[in-house]
């Protein structure tokens, strides 16, 4: 007992002050990408062709970047002859609608809080059932990490529960494999209404590297209505936490953010 108490002092207090204090992201962290279109040579498609998931679409003069498909890899950055693409330290990226993840300019419509009635129900206590439907254990691990003392998800009233019948919604990872489709549907059906669905990671949003495989269904919204999309491969735990808090109306300010200039 004494040993455990001493260890407690040795380990120190480790919970981060987010969201009150802005976290400092590591210098190589790949947050929301930014593209300086004015640098693009005419007719250049190098980034779009290098992208493993076709997240970058160029037609005529317009460029669209689909954060839902983006793996946040370095392939486009390396392919660009003009260094027009870079990753910013911005970790906030969750949206309510799938189409909001498709960036055409420099702004992103971040997720808004749930409608009043559901927010009254879930705003101070949200119980989620996690379902991995073909996830690689990357997203699962970074969802799990929210339960550690660093993020201490419980302080926001959010908890992962063991049964769908105890849950207010599902948090889904993975591209939804054919072999998990019915289990996912059954789990959803077992959650009492009203209920919410959160899709975490490139796979759950659009199939990730596995999109268009006949063995998968290209994401959660192919079979269920999704209320929150959290992009990343996997998303940083703070990206997930920020999304959850936005959905619960705990991050009312800064609903829409321009890409920071640094």
């Amino acid at each position: 007992m004494l040993r455990a108490t001493l260890a407690r002092f040795q380990q120190g207090y480790r919970t981060i002050p987010f969201p009150k204090v802005e976290p400092a992201m590591p210098d190589r962290f790949r947050g929301r990408p930014a593209i300086e279109r004015e640098k693009c040579p005419v007719g250049c498609r190098d980034c779009a062709e290098a992208c493993p998931t076709n997240a970058i679409m160029i037609d005529n003069q317009s460029l669209r970047l689909d954060l839902g498909r983006c793996l946040f890899c370095t392939d486009c950055v390396e392919a660009c002859p003009e260094q027009a693409i870079r990753y910013t330290p911005e970790f906030r990226m969750s949206t309510n609608k799938r189409e909001d993840l498709v960036m055409t300019g420099q702004t992103l419509e971040l997720a808004k809080a749930l409608a009043n009635k559901t927010r009254r129900l879930f705003g101070r206590s949200l119980k989620l059932r996690q379902v991995s439907a073909g996830g690689c254990n990357g997203c699962e691990a970074d969802v799990n990490v929210l339960n550690t003392i660093v993020f201490d998800l419980g302080r926001f009233g959010v908890q992962f529960v063991a049964s769908p019948r105890h849950a207010d919604g599902l948090l889904i990872t993975g591209p939804v494999t054919e072999n998990m489709k019915s289990a996912l549907q059954n789990t959803y059906d077992a959650v009492p209404s009203p209920k919410i669905v959160i899709a975490v990671g490139a796979c759950a949003i659009a199939g990730g590297p596995y999109f268009n495989h006949p063995e998968v269904h290209n994401g959660a919204d192919s079979i269920l209505p999704v209320d929150l999309y959290v992009p990343g491969c996997p998303p940083h735990p703070l990206t997930i936490l920020d999304g959850l808090l936005r959905l619960l109306g705990r991050m009312e300010t800064r609903a829409s953010l321009a890409v920071s200039s640094d």
Binding site: R3, A4, A7, R8, Q10, Q11, R14, P26, R28, F29, R30, A50, P52, T53, L71, F72, C73, T74, D75, Y87, R129, Q130, V131, S132, A133, G134, G135, C136, N137, G138, C139, E140, A141, D142, V143, V145, T148, I149, V150, A162, S163, P164, G174, P175, T177, E178, N179, M180, A183, T187, G208, P209, Y210, H213, P214, E215, V216, C233, P234, H236
Partner: protein, 492 residues
Amino acid sequence: MPTARSTPASNGERIALKSLSRVSMGDFHTGVIDRVRGGARIAALFGQARGDGTARLFAVLADGAAGTLPLLSTDVIKEYPALTPECPQAHGFEREIAEQCGVTPQGHPWLKPIRFHAPVVRGATNFLRVEGEEIHEVAVGPVHAGIIEPGHFRFQCHGENVLHLEVALGYQHRGLERALVGGPNKRTIHYMETLAGDTSVGHATAYCQAVEALTDCQVPARAQALRGVALELERLANHTGDLGALAGDVGYLPAASFCGRIRGDFLNMTVLLCGSRFGRGFVRPGGVGFEVDDTRVAQLLERIEQALRDVTVATHLLWSTSSVRARFENVGTVSRKICNDLGLIGLAARACGVERDVRQEFPFGIYRFFQVPISTFHTGDVFARAYVRWLEIQRSVAFVRDQLKTLPGGSILAEAKSPVASAMVVSLVEGWRGEICHVAMTDEHGKFSHYKIVDPSFHNWIGLAMAMRDQQVSDFPLCNKSFNLSYCGHDL
């Protein structure tokens, strides 16, 4: 001793497909069985469907004592005599061959689908049943209570006592091996990094070694050292997380909380390397994708010492708390004989006292020059699997420290050209769970004609089933966590 002619290969060595010895089915059969009896193990056993109900089988044997990987190949039509009755460690591989190639291993004791590919329908097969008046069945999954991947577990119980556990997987099947055929292409490395997300560095390294052998690419020494650092950081993060989760499963919260946090410290060291907690983007064909400057090295050295201090305190709580010891010891025991018969690998094997580690037996990359001693413990129980993790944490930290202090200079990336045509390579890496085996074959255009992946979990799931025999159902979470196997790595 073995009679059948095999092609000798070593880890990461390219072989022309035409020089691969093809033997008769009889010689293949005895060749595999004799070598396994002689102390080798099956690293991979797979088939290539060739239409009309014929298939070509390949066996990659791992002879740890000799440090060689004998290869055998044979052609079969519709059926062949199963290896499993005489060589139990072939059981999963032969189920896979039957499912993927449509040939039947005659006499296989439990021939049912392993991943439920189309057109096989899930639920079309039965589970092994124990009959008796007081026997009951417990079914768990695919959706589990925690934040983990899906799989189904079927227990045959007498009261609380488990007589048999059948592990039924396949829910995570994403068609990965099929999609690799025709590559390498722009998606290939991303498949590797998401094959089993907690082993991104391990699988990416195995793939890159295979590609580098196929392209005659010499990886710079600095890149080799940095790959070693990333691989050991992956081991450190996962081992630490597992020790925390084991503590959580026996209700000992101090160590659970501390280790959960320290795991993140190791992941954040990987972020320092490459911006990703899971090492995405770091290992690339030809070397590594990120330079690590002196300031970063200094930061890493400082952080790893701090993390070691923290994890030492946290894990010593486990070893010195009698209630934890009582729950870890003599639970989920796997004997050395079962370990050898079933060909268990990685830390699960080392926890049975078996010295099995690719870094020593088939050294690759930086491990050809710097050795990590093999850590073993003899009891084969949950305690052993926990304790081996702790031993390995110390050795990985020592290795990372040494590498960072003596990083060679030079470039970090060499150019990897196109793979040569009609060649084959076996690439082994000791991931944190154990031996990762990739076998790549190219066609006449230098594209992958076949790509076989064997995640360590493929060997070890049966170990969990064995560990549960004669245990209580309630010990399952603890036993499961002590192996912490990958579902998607198995299902591919």
